[in-house]
Symmetry: D2
Amino acid sequence: MPYEFKVRRMVEFCDTDMAGIMHYSNFFRFMETAEHGFYRSLGFSVVQGTLDPRLGWPRVHASCDFRRPLRFEDVVEIHLLVTAKRDKAISYQFRFRKLEGDKPQAEESARGALTIVCVSHGRDGTLKAVSIPSDIAARIDVAPSELLHNSAVDLKS
Amino acid sequence: MPYEFKVRRMVEFCDTDMAGIMHYSNFFRFMETAEHGFYRSLGFSVVQGTLDPRLGWPRVHASCDFRRPLRFEDVVEIHLLVTAKRDKAISYQFRFRKLEGDKPQAEESARGALTIVCVSHGRDGTLKAVSIPSDIAARIDVAPSELLHNSAVDLKS
Amino acid sequence: MPYEFKVRRMVEFCDTDMAGIMHYSNFFRFMETAEHGFYRSLGFSVVQGTLDPRLGWPRVHASCDFRRPLRFEDVVEIHLLVTAKRDKAISYQFRFRKLEGDKPQAEESARGALTIVCVSHGRDGTLKAVSIPSDIAARIDVAPSELLHNSAVDLKS
Amino acid sequence: MPYEFKVRRMVEFCDTDMAGIMHYSNFFRFMETAEHGFYRSLGFSVVQGTLDPRLGWPRVHASCDFRRPLRFEDVVEIHLLVTAKRDKAISYQFRFRKLEGDKPQAEESARGALTIVCVSHGRDGTLKAVSIPSDIAARIDVAPSELLHNSAVDLKS
């Protein structure tokens, strides 16, 4: 069962700000690109496919530590790792590494985290946390702890 | 009956790009701010309120001529003018003027246009153009032609 | 010396996503709106004014806990509090409260945090952390700890 | 000499709005993706590479006609065509076609246009239109008129 996923994305001109670097809010958009690509790699979509349309996946927590700026036309590898899986929630870690040629740099540009919950959309617009459907939960594993911790020092040092 | 509306908005840091000016796509977001403010000033919302929830207002045309860049912390007045009202569609013009102190500059920074259509959302996701509800259409007038043309020369010269 | 700042902002149509709520990345844009408004209230700008143009204020950490969704045309009060001030860095907390009428709700929609560092832009594009200019540091205080903790329970419970 | 370029891009969740479709401002971002990819295909970048860093390429005109909405996870082909090349300006047309399987649909989802000018950035922040560098101009051709007109009927009908 997969516990990780990698995707590459180029920093577009409109992702930058007047400081000449990618605006920090766009790291959160790139995380979502990796998350949704992970779901597609598992054979479902957050919106269509095997999911009941009344389910949603809002975020309850998002964070990011920024170490090196990304710039226009940088290509970045976003490495998603599943850090926790609970009845109603999944947590992810995201490692951003800029490519040099075709290989990601050893050092991370940023490291992010997301926790999402599975919710049911009520007719009145309310959201209620529900168990993740078993056929989805069964396809997602948690990354081994040694993998989750082996490059943490790099970012924090 | 109103045929114009003015709103002011500050250029945020995240609206800029690495060229140091507001990214051109954000002029289209600012136009929508003026359009939706216009609807609120008439007592309805594009989403809630007196509208049947199955109506939508997608754009069929959008354009903008850019004359002077806008920069971080510039405050801009967006002047909406109704240029045409048809059974199923409304057309707007938008004039962007940067404020100096509390007054808009004579020269426009940009001039944009939008044409929106009223659509009904079918259960299958299809969109069908329908007549604008009469209680809404009755509240919107078309700007006098002398008003629509008196500063066009400025932008085009 | 000020240690807090409040600003109000309306959720625009383009801030929403197909789930019908404000996209989570836009909370980080709203935090920046409050941060930059705070600087303006102190008499300087992150870009212009009393600052040497070679200084920048990149983020090294950003996080947000989301409790209740924000929707189109919601007006939200963003309450910035200074949580830490160090030689080269400042940390902020942001409390999002939706307005009911003209008053913020007791419950928070979200609570965020940012840590920014003061950097000098080298000619070669490198960024180097430097001490916050004393005339700026002298104008910013840290919020009293009782203020920082008195509603944390609300969000976490 | 090339006069066209094609690129594919997926509609991300954050590109959608509460109407469930791609927000209209994002079509302008997608046009820029195609434009910048075109430049890269010619061996230069709007920001780096063979260009003098003091040159910029602001837009003076942008427009788009929207015919069919794009939705989350749609993959769209953006077909750039050079419609005019003048001493200081280039005009482009952009045709958006959604993919079915691996092939673009016959019908266009949208058709856009951009006119950009080559400017020199003065030390005082002013922008002055200048001739496009000859080594760049020499690499760009104008599309044959029959190509520019053969599917216009489709969009307008």
